[in-house]
């Protein structure tokens, strides 16, 4: 920024008018409207989900994704056409950085919820502490532990016996996913997932070194490994979810333990999926299109930042959801 002077000013490319925004809006609104309809059909609908809702949702989603594709293609072509000044590139950098920051805050909301219920609400419900010393009247017999294996509702004898209007059935899990079975650490999936994800961050870095050295083979190789590790992570997580649902009795309905567990790991998994897709696209750009040079590879860089961010989130998840 300080280097720019008005004598040697490289024009900032302001794109001409463009249909992208309005198309993206159309796709977004349709898919969101469809998704909301599907959920409402599911919960309140008489015969269940109508095909209409699904069609709206899928059309919208397709349109949205197609627009995103076109959008990124346009941006890439502009760059290849040499329209992007250093200053404009910096705008993209800032954009990506603050986008990731907003994602951090999104996760913060769920981590905050986790801390709040674990450290304050749980004990209160069990009649402890300044905020909760009378709550024992309502939830007689409830004892707090984390992970919460028995919900307050179960403690008083089920939905019909609870002292407040019934709003669902919450039964705790049979088995916790925490690091309780130390003797069987090798069978403990989250640990392997951590290894997978941490190494993928490392391979991603290797790929970066590759492109900085101008070594495309190295770049492609390590990027491919990264993507594969990402996929492996997702497979392991899918397996873990399957186990949780079928063998551990840990579901979205298992009270607050299930709620926080699945929301945190689920959103993280979704972000892994996004990051992996981004990296995969960069890989294809490099392999099929021969794009990226040692000095110009922002698409990859942005994806890799995202990937490292996802990785850091996992470290916190591992610590707070699984271990502590």
């Amino acid at each position: 920024m300080t280097s720019q002077t008005s004598t040697a000013y490289e024009k900032y490319h302001v794109p001409p008018k463009s249909r992208l925004a309005i198309c993206a809006t159309t796709g977004l609104m349709l898919s969101v409207y469809g998704a909301a309809s599907i959920m409402n059909d599911m919960t309140f609908g008489d015969p269940g989900v109508s095909t209409n809702s699904w069609s709206i949702f899928l059309c919208g989603l397709f349109f949205f994704l197609a627009t995103l594709f076109a959008w990124f293609r346009t941006a890439i072509r502009e760059n290849l056409a040499g329209l992007n000044s250093a200053q404009l590139k910096h705008s993209y950098v800032l954009g990506m950085f603050w986008f990731i920051f907003s994602e951090v805050m999104f996760f913060l909301a769920f981590f905050g919820a986790l801390f709040y219920v674990r450290n304050l609400v749980g004990p209160w419900l069990a009649g402890e502490g300044e905020g909760g010393r009378m709550n024992g009247l309502l939830w007689q017999g409830f004892e707090f532990s984390w992970p919460m294996m028995q919900t307050p509702q179960e403690a008083v004898g089920g939905a019909a016996a609870q002292p407040l209007a019934n709003n669902g059935t919450f039964a705790g899990p049979q088995t916790s996913l925490s690091f309780a079975q130390a003797h069987a650490w090798w069978a403990w999936l989250p640990l392997w997932n951590t290894v997978v994800l941490l190494s993928s961050s490392f391979t991603c870095h290797l790929a970066h070194m590759g492109i900085l050295d101008g070594d495309r083979r190295k770049f492609n190789l390590w990027l491919a490994v990264t993507v594969l590790l990402g996929m492996l992570f997702l497979c392991l997580q899918a397996f873990e979810y399957h186990e949780a649902y079928t063998h551990f009795g840990l579901t979205l309905n298992s009270g607050i333990y299930g709620s926080t567990f699945f929301m945190l790991t689920g959103f993280h998994g979704f972000h892994v999926f996004m990051g992996m897709t981004m990296l995969l696209i960069q890989l294809l750009r490099s392999v099929l299109g021969g794009q990226f040079t040692a000095s110009d590879h922002f698409g990859f860089e942005a994806s890799s930042w995202y990937w490292h961010f996802v990785d850091v989130v996992w470290v916190f998840l591992f610590l707070f959801v699984y271990i502590l």
């Binding site: 909760g132 009378m134 019909a160 002292p163 407040l164 209007a165 019934n166 059935t169």
Partner: protein, 381 residues
């Protein structure tokens, strides 16, 4: 009159007119109150003092700030031919007006803290009352270590006709209930506040008590009322359609009067127990059911069973269908909807009556009777 004076008059005219009209109105109709009332508890008086102190400080600061501003508005106007000054900072002044407000805030924080600690001193109560918010009524339960708890619901008493402007509105329009809470004077009464469905808030201004009623949690608060009398309040947290219609009335009486009242309540409770074993005729059940319905169900299901928040009872497949299912719905509620479990709210007699009533009123003519013992057996499973 000089130019500036005229200007000042014009500028202040609006606010002054407004304030005086407000004050005149306030003094004129004794119904219009402009300030917080100190209420009838020590805490209330402390809060009132706090309120007045801070209001006073703010008024003084405000007068200062606006005074300086109006001075420039009058004397530093371009039309008077002044040349603008050019100064634009002064570290000393800026530090001063950072530090001085800070000190003023500390001054305010001191009494605020001590009053807050007083409010939070929930120990050593003479009497515990469990207050539960329901959509849209309050339940009061006197917690008594030796023996039967007395408990009852407190519903809005104002007639629908008054609300819909068909009848003249009474003196305590919207602030009257069928059964007020009764507490003894000069005793520390502890309120354990909770809710059954959504969040409500139990607020009686004269007692300086406002506490949110959170479903599944019990909040503690207390009051020691210094004067007998009737004090009124309202639910203070948006809780759905009839949030504006769930008032609170507290009747503060002498200890002896209170003991007598509580004794009668206990007797009533025993009487209901006896009724449980009795068999009723259809007419008896219908008559009782009508009033139970009006109190508990009408708000959602309509005066003529036409529905509203809840589904219509008139012609309802449930109310005209299998009795066991009907009982299930009313006793256990419909999870995930506003239809609550009434099993814990109505005694078996009332439950039997309202079931019978629903099955034979509003053009539903099942004509069958439900006896308290049926309800009892059904609950046992």
């Amino acid at each position: 009159m000089s130019f500036q004076a005229k200007r000042l008059c014009k500028l202040t005219l609006g606010p002054v007119l407004m304030l005086t009209s407000a004050l005149v109105l306030a003094a004129g109709g004794e119904t219009s109150q402009v300030n917080m009332s100190p209420g009838v508890t020590e805490v209330g008086k402390n809060i009132y003092d706090l309120h007045m102190i801070i209001l006073g400080i703010c008024t003084v600061i405000g007068l200062g700030v606006f005074g300086v501003m109006f001075y420039s508005i009058i004397y530093h106007r371009k039309s008077r031919g002044v040349a603008p000054a050019t100064f634009h900072e002064s570290t000393a002044v800026e530090i001063a007006w950072t530090v001085v407000p800070f000190l003023i805030l500390i001054l305010m924080a001191v009494p605020a803290t001590s009053t807050l600690l007083q409010i939070y001193d929930n120990d050593d109560a003479d009497l515990d009352i469990l207050v539960t918010g329901y959509q849209w009524k309050w339940k009061y339960e006197y917690i008594n270590e030796n023996g039967e708890n007395v408990s009852f619901f407190s519903n809005l008493k104002t007639a629908q006709g008054e609300i819909h402007n068909l009848e003249a509105k009474g003196e305590h329009y919207l602030l009257e209930v069928d059964e007020p809470l009764v507490i003894p004077v000069d005793k520390k009464v502890r309120f354990l506040v909770t809710a059954n469905d959504v969040i409500h808030s139990w607020w009686v201004p004269a007692l300086a008590v406002k506490k949110d009623a959170i479903p599944g949690f019990i909040n503690e608060t207390w009051a020691r009322v210094e004067q007998t009398g009737v004090y009124r309040g309202q639910c203070a947290e948006l809780c759905g359609t009839n949030h504006g219609f769930m008032p609170i009335v507290v009747n503060v009486v002498d200890q002896s009067e209170f003991d007598q009242w509580l004794g009668e309540k206990e007797k009533d409770a025993a009487a209901v127990k006896k009724l449980m074993a009795q068999n009723f005729t259809l007419d008896e059940l219908m008559a009782r059911g009508k009033s139970v319905y009006a109190r508990n169900c009408q708000a959602c299901h309509g005066a003529n069973g036409e529905g509203g928040v809840g589904k219509a009872i008139a012609g309802s497949p449930i109310a005209t269908g299998d009795l066991a299912t009907h009982m299930d719905v009313v006793i256990h509620g419909v999870p995930g909807t506003a239809m609550q479990a009434f099993g814990g709210q109505l005694n078996d007699v009332d439950m039997a009556a309202v079931l019978t009533y629903q099955r034979s009123a509003f053009g539903n003519n099942m004509g069958d009777k439900v006896q308290p013992i049926d309800v009892f057996n059904h609950k046992k499973g």
